[in-house]
């Protein structure tokens, strides 16, 4: 076993003098020291705990959805209940898990470390963003507890403004508030990356994780205010019986879709770009070489972020949008696929002549490449106008965006958890269990969502709680896969928590990775760096082996 040795040496490293120093975790004790902290690392932990709870809540809804769809006739729950389940699954997962997941946890924790700073530019704003998130989540949870909401996470008008009798207003307030958490995080990251880089750390020496977060932050500050005001308009329309989106009073329901997707399409890139950053870090570390095409991966992140704002209309090809607008949005949608393809090719090329090992983070990263490739390619199907007319609002779409958001974003998130866990907690988890969970997630995921592509092309519409009998076999496959996937998610929760008490002590750099965050102790001290580091080399400068043939 290759992997036994590094683990043993990690134990040895733990005995080094640095291990017993004070770090950000033991620098202070007590609830107050956490709730009033301005340390980006502690705020990251606060986020980690909150989003994990929201993930469990969202998963609970997913379990009920899959159980209900086991049979075609709607035996488990009533239609209204089912509608609330998929709505709350979407809202909780999108707004309260996926959007904050990697940026708020790992971006928060790692950005200052990666750029050699003592903290983010605005630590108090950072703490505020967590409180804002918690208040928004509280409103949403209140809406869930007091009867839920049934509009779908998309809040399409006029259903959400005139027809629904559920807690739309409370949920809208929750999402409105949470948006500001996202805005504050994005603002903080942008300023930090611009102003706080260590001497010598030029833009093209930045780790790609930082580039990805810069691009993500741009979307957060440019897109989120629009969803906030849109949700605000839905809220006041409901509260004061206005007609902003109500056609009976002269409103335009399609306008809502424009405003909604102006944010919500780029929001997909908020979810996937950070994952791409994580994968770039992991692949280069475990292939032991500088990433292939660094500049292209870096710039493609920016391209995705900016061009991602030009394609929102591809969610509206059947909405009675004008054909001419549809043509523009379609061609731009195809164009925005290219930077993603460039990333995949570069990651693959990075493996060439590497010295590759397969610890758990690498398994998640390779899994990401596979699932994201499928998700990205099926995205082309949805950008193709004539084809989208058939598959729009069917399970094809459901499968596609789960491949991106779960297969992509969540795999990346799990990769990040496994890669930086030793840095965050100072403990190693069970490598064996982690590999098992990576395989379970990959297999379970494909079994859950691949059949849904077939279901979609067959014509099963999404958000159906009763469906024709001939779709049952594929739905049963999907639910079976979901059970495996569920186990794949629960296993890490167990061994990671276990590792906090019983895991071997991690060294400063258990993966022998390049990057400033690995040059400080695990867990890092509160001030990160005793002295501001001076950077003299490019990212991922692994010692180079002489090429046999060049």
């Amino acid at each position: 076993m290759d992997d036994a040795r590094p683990a043993q040496r990690k134990l040895v490293n733990a005995m080094e003098p640095g291990a017993s120093r004070t770090n950000y975790l033991n620098a202070d004790y007590g609830l107050k020291s956490w709730l009033l902290t301005r340390d980006h690392k502690r705020i990251a932990i606060l986020y980690l705990i909150s989003i994990t709870l929201m993930f469990l809540l969202g998963s609970f809804f997913a379990v009920l959805i899959r159980l209900e769809l086991l049979t075609p006739h709607g035996d488990l729950v009533q239609g209204d209940t089912y509608n609330k389940l998929f709505t709350m699954h979407g809202i909780v997962m999108v707004f309260f898990f996926l959007v904050p997941s990697i940026p708020a946890v790992f971006g928060n924790f790692l950005l200052p470390l990666m750029i050699g700073a003592r903290d983010l530019a605005f630590p108090r704003l950072n703490l505020l963003s967590w409180y804002v998130y918690v208040v928004g989540a509280a409103f949403t949870l209140w809406a869930v507890i007091t009867g839920g909401v049934d509009t779908g996470w998309t809040f399409y008008t006029p259903y959400s403004t005139t027809a629904s009798h559920t807690n739309v207003l409370t949920t809208a307030i929750g999402i409105f508030i949470t948006g500001f958490s996202s805005i504050l995080t994005g603002l903080n990251f942008i300023v930090t990356i611009h102003q706080m880089r260590a001497p010598g750390l030029t833009w093209f020496r930045l780790p790609l994780f930082v580039w990805a977060h810069y691009a993500t932050s741009l979307i957060m500050i440019l897109g989120t205010p629009v969803i906030a005001i849109t949700i605000f308009l839905v809220g006041i329309e409901r509260a004061f019986q206005l007609g902003i989106f109500d056609p009976a009073l002269g409103g335009d329901p399609i306008l809502f879709q424009h405003l909604f997707w102006f944010y919500s399409h780029p929001a997909v890139y908020i979810m996937i770009l950070p994952s791409m950053g994580v994968v770039s870090e992991i692949i280069t570390c475990f292939a032991r070489k500088r990433i292939f095409g660094y500049e292209f991966i870096a710039v493609s992140s920016l391209a995705i972020a900016l061009f991602g704002f030009l394609v929102w209309g591809h969610h509206m090809f059947t909405s009675t949008q004008s054909v001419y607008a549809a043509l523009i949005f379609s061609v731009l949608s195809f164009a925005v696929a290219i930077p993603s393809a460039v990333k995949v090719f570069n990651w693959t090329a990075t493996l060439y002549r590497g010295s590759i090992s397969f610890e758990a983070p690498m398994l998640f990263a390779l899994g990401f490449i596979g699932l994201f490739t499928i998700g990205g390619l099926t995205g082309l199907f949805l950008a193709a106008l004539g084809l989208d007319v058939h598959v729009h609002d069917t399970y094809f779409v459901v499968a596609h965006f789960h491949y991106i958001m779960v297969g992509g974003a969540l795999m990346g998130y799990l990769g990040a958890v496994h890669f930086w866990w030793p840095k965050m907690t100072g403990r190693m988890y069970s490598e064996w269990a982690a590999r098992v969970s990576a395989v379970l997630v990959f297999v379970g995921f494909n079994l859950t969502f691949f059949p849904q592509f077939v279901l979609g092309y067959l014509g099963m519409p999404r958000r159906y709680h009763v469906y024709p009998d001939e779709f049952q076999v594929l739905n049963v496959m999907s639910t079976t896969g979901a059970s495996i996937l569920g186990v794949g998610y629960l296993v890490p929760l167990c061994y990671l928590i276990w590792s906090l008490w019983r895991g071997p002590i991690a060294s400063a750099n258990p993966w022998r990775a390049a990057g400033l965050e690995w040059k400080v102790a695990s867990p890092p001290p509160t001030e990160n760096f005793a002295q501001t580091p001076i950077v003299t080399e490019e990212a991922y400068s692994y010692p180079v082996r002489e090429a046999e043939v060049v």
Partner: protein, 214 residues
């Protein structure tokens, strides 16, 4: 090399970095504000192009004199704000406090006039909702206009209220001598915010008050 002074937060190397970071932070924040108002402006543009007659008719129910007066008041407050920033740059404590207080005063006048206008709209039953009454063709489209009027001016007024609070805090800090030639960045940042709110009104005034006046 400059050493961190007592006004430099621990995460910054020096005052220059702190100043640059907070200035950039405010500009980025203003970008988010542009996008937020942008959603409302997009809504406005769409409905105005769809219902030009109703919008013009509804606009006639706004008091253009009060709107113009408020525009001048707000422009004046921008001047006093700029003067406050200038005084702060020169380390003039009295000028800074006086500029901030005048800005607050003018801002309050603006809000007072706005409150009067709102009250008047309530009396005229021009507040959208179940009690809305519009005597003229296409009442529902006029209601759209007033929905947008209240959403846009309301959001703007909310920014004014926040701005008055921020400037009040800055005035107290300035009076206590917290700022100097070397450290007055918070006043500049507050000024950026106040001027931005002014700019929003510069667009709102003609778009809401001056439709089809000829």
């Amino acid at each position: 090399m400059s050493s961190p002074g007592h006004n430099v937060a621990h995460q910054f190397d020096d005052a220059v970095q702190q100043r640059d970071a907070s200035t950039l932070g405010m500009w980025v924040f203003l970008v988010t504000e542009v996008m937020m108002f942008g959603g409302l402006f997009a809504t406005y543009v769409l409905y105005r192009s769809a219902y030009p007659e109703a919008f013009a008719a509804a606009s006639h129910h706004l008091n253009a004199q009060l709107g113009a007066m408020n525009t001048l008041v707000l422009l004046g407050s921008s001047l006093t704000m700029a003067l406050a920033v200038r005084s702060a740059q020169h380390g003039a404590r009295f000028g800074t406090v006086a500029g901030l207080l005048s800005t607050i005063a003018l801002g309050s006048v603006f809000l007072g006039v706005k409150a009067y206008e709102y009250a008047h709209k309530f009396e005229e039953k021009l507040v959208p909702g179940p009690y809305f009454v519009f005597d003229g063709p296409e009442g529902t489209h006029a209601e759209l206009f007033f929905s947008l009027y209240f959403a846009m001016t309301g959001l703007h007024a909310l920014h004014m209220v926040i701005g008055v609070g921020v400037l009040g805090t800055l005035a107290v800090m300035a009076a206590r001598g917290r700022f100097s030639v070397a450290y007055h960045n918070p006043i500049e940042i507050g000024g950026l915010y106040w001027h931005f709110v002014d700019i929003v009104w510069i667009y709102l005034f003609p778009l809401l008050y001056l439709l089809g006046r000829h």
